[in-house]
Amino acid sequence: MWQRIIALAIKEFQSLLRDPKSRFVIVGPPLIQLLVFTFAATFDLSNIPIAIYNQDGGQAAQALVARFEGSGHFKNVATIHRESDIARVIDSREALMVLTIGPRFEADLRSHQPTTVQLIIDGRNSNTAAIALSYANTLIADFNTQWQTRHQLRAPPSVIVTRAWFNPNLESRWFIVPGIVAILMLVVVMVVTALSVAREREQGTFDQLLVTPLRPVEILIGKAIPGFVIGLLEGSMIILLAVNAFAVPFEGHVLTLYIGMGLFLLSAIGIGLMISALAATLQQAVLGVFLFLVPAIILSGFATPIANMPPFVQDLTLINPMRYFMIILRGIFLEGSSFQSLQNQFWPLAIIGLVTLAAAGWLFRHRMN
């Protein structure tokens, strides 16, 4: 039995890797995507275009403007002299925000009157707006602290001392890169497994396969092996690159990582083979891949937290293997999670894997009739 399965697996590898086009498609894009998306996928803003409407012009106002300019997050793109210009620069997206410093800014400040600077933000992209606002808040708070120390004012009654665990500088790249690892592994595995049977059906080789002594289960295993091996190799390669080239910390244990990867690959392969068994044509298989891939990525907690979703969608994510794998990867990379602390992620993955593989096997036999 194993000899036949291995023969089939070897054949699968050969047909994936012999053709230069498909070889490239399997190896090239994941690496390119890792590179591109790692740089693209960050919530840390830099060069936020800001316009300054400084009606005061005094020393303190200059200092405040300088603080914005020197923070690295903002880039002064326009200096405004009229109120009416505010709408123009915001509407045209020339600047994301306009900082307005009133004419009595320095006078109020020196006379210990409460004073206010106004910030108008383009809310079209609410997330960017919220992040930009939080940067501005921090800058103003820093300015206040400095002002108070310089002028020997009374210290504020309370301060917040923040410590961020696992990611002290709150670098969103550390959060995103493990997610990209999971996405790329999923895409490769789906491409390798979900399209394989449909391809044989279209080429007419599937019948030839069925008249050999290979049993449906053996065909299934033979088709699963390349997905598993390629997924594991590519996953390892991407992780090595992420840790070495992008300096993402790796705190956990390699063994825990591979247990997680193995379980995740099983569940992804199960889904891929289910699509494969259902699809009569390549087009249907591709459609199936998309229908699974897109929600699986969006509802995995990759970019937006699952906790923010409404309850019924949160329940829906429970059947998404990506959800668990995201937590496992981030736990192992950043938190140094142990096997025990990830147990609750491992067993759902194992169950999804078993159910989908069994369903794929059943569909496979069923579709033959």
Binding site: V36, D122, N308
Partner: protein, 385 residues
């Protein structure tokens, strides 16, 4: 009967024939209909409801080493906010264990000498905040929310004490932020229009990515090519039916955005139709181009998967800010047509007809659409070589 020579007939007749053929094929193939209408509905529903960056009920551990009046007031200010669901931890060790097990996202720790320091003029009482920084973006937002809660507690406390003057001392400069277009920063208002662009990229490419490759593989193209049909007619015959289908899907998506998700629409409808049509042309044109270059359904589908959804999701500014990407990558995003359409949609939905935004982006869409159609035109020759 003697044969007329040469047998050509009008271009309209040939195009009409091709369009009718393609339409019939679409009608007979439930997959195309499903892609055009079912897919946007399902995806918009899932994402519209599922994707949100607005945190609510952030699980928070609250630890007071020596609970007293001050710490209770602070806790009350968190309890009032819908952003948090605070849990009181008996001690810091327990709270830290909760944080490790992902039961809470942050710990607010009131040290034992907090009250004492609060009343000492020369010192600031430190309030300790421990955050799980894995999700940096959420951590930052959580931090901002907690800061806001803390500030409102501080303001209330100052006010109660009648210390008007020291308010200025506590905070010499206050920031008054006014957010235009989306004052509550509802992430759905910005995500839903972006989603329309991402989904339509997917649908446009999926609809056309396989059509040409399919004709190659089934041998129907060879028979078509020896008829007097001109390449332009062939391309138009392919594009028109899928364009109509795609516009249907687009209309459905916009209707859902406005009526189901309540996203305001401030722009002009005619501009929406015009820009949507252009955008759809870029997506269809790209699919067609892939289809022509690949000639084989397997490769075409792989290229479509790789070049459509993920770039539209990651490089379009849909979630991740383009301005924060490195320069070389920003240049790359100019190739992603969803980038322009997302800006147009955000503006039309939330800001209205802002000519200075709409025109450059519309022209960019036009350029990309022309590029793909011209590239398809160049690549598809009436030849088997």
């Amino acid at each position: 009967m003697s044969p007329p020579t040469p047998r050509r007939g009008s271009s309209w007749m040939r195009m009409g024939g091709l369009i009718r053929k393609e339409s019939l094929q679409i009608l007979r193939d439930p997959a195309s209909i499903a892609i055009a209408f079912l897919l946007p509905v399902v995806l918009l529903l899932i994402f519209g409801y599922g994707v949100s960056l607005n945190a609510k009920h952030i699980p928070l551990a609250f630890v007071a080493d020596a609970p007293d009046k001050e710490s209770a007031a602070l806790l009350a200010s968190f309890n009032h906010s819908s952003y948090f669901s605070p849990r009181i931890a008996p001690n810091l060790a327990t709270a830290e264990r909760w944080l490790l097990n992902r039961q809470v996202d942050a710990i607010v720790h009131v040290p034992s000498d907090f009250s004492a320091q609060l009343h000492t003029a020369s010192q600031s009482a430190p309030l300790q905040l421990i955050i799980n920084g894995v999700d940096a973006n959420q951590a930052r937002l959580t931090q901002a929310y907690i800061q806001a809660g803390w500030q409102s507690w501080l303001a209330a406390r100052t006010q109660a004490a009648g210390l008007e003057h020291s308010a200025a001392a506590a905070q010499p400069v206050a920031l008054a932020a006014r957010i235009w277009f989306n004052p509550e920063l509802r992430s759905r208002d910005y995500l839903v229009p972006g989603l329309i662009a991402v989904i339509m990229t997917l649908i446009g490419a999926l609809l056309t990515a396989l059509v040409m490759a399919r004709e190659w593989e089934r041998g129907t193209l060879e028979a078509l090519m020896v008829t007097p049909v001109h390449i332009n007619e062939l391309l138009i015959g392919k594009l028109v039916p899928y364009f109509v289908l795609g516009m249907g899907g687009m209309a459905l998506s916009v209707a859902m955005a406005v009526w189901l998700f309540g996203v305001p629409f401030l722009g002009s409808w005619w501009l929406l139709v015009l820009t949507s049509a252009l955008f759809l042309l870029t997506a269809l044109g790209m699919g067609l181009f892939i289809s022509i270059v690949a000639r084989n359904q397997f490769v075409a589908s792989l290229i479509a998967i790789i070049t459509t959804f993920l770039p539209a999701f990651m490089l379009s500014g849909f979630i991740f800010d383009i301005g924060s990407m490195p320069g070389w990558l920003q240049n790359l995003t100019y190739l992603v047509s969803a980038r322009y359409f997302i800006v147009i949609l955000h503006t039309l939905f939330l800001a209205g007809d802002v000519a200075s935004v709409l025109w450059p982006n519309t022209l960019a869409l036009l350029a990309i659409a022309l590029f793909f159609i011209a590239a398809s035109r160049r690549k598809i020759r009436k030849s088997l070589e």
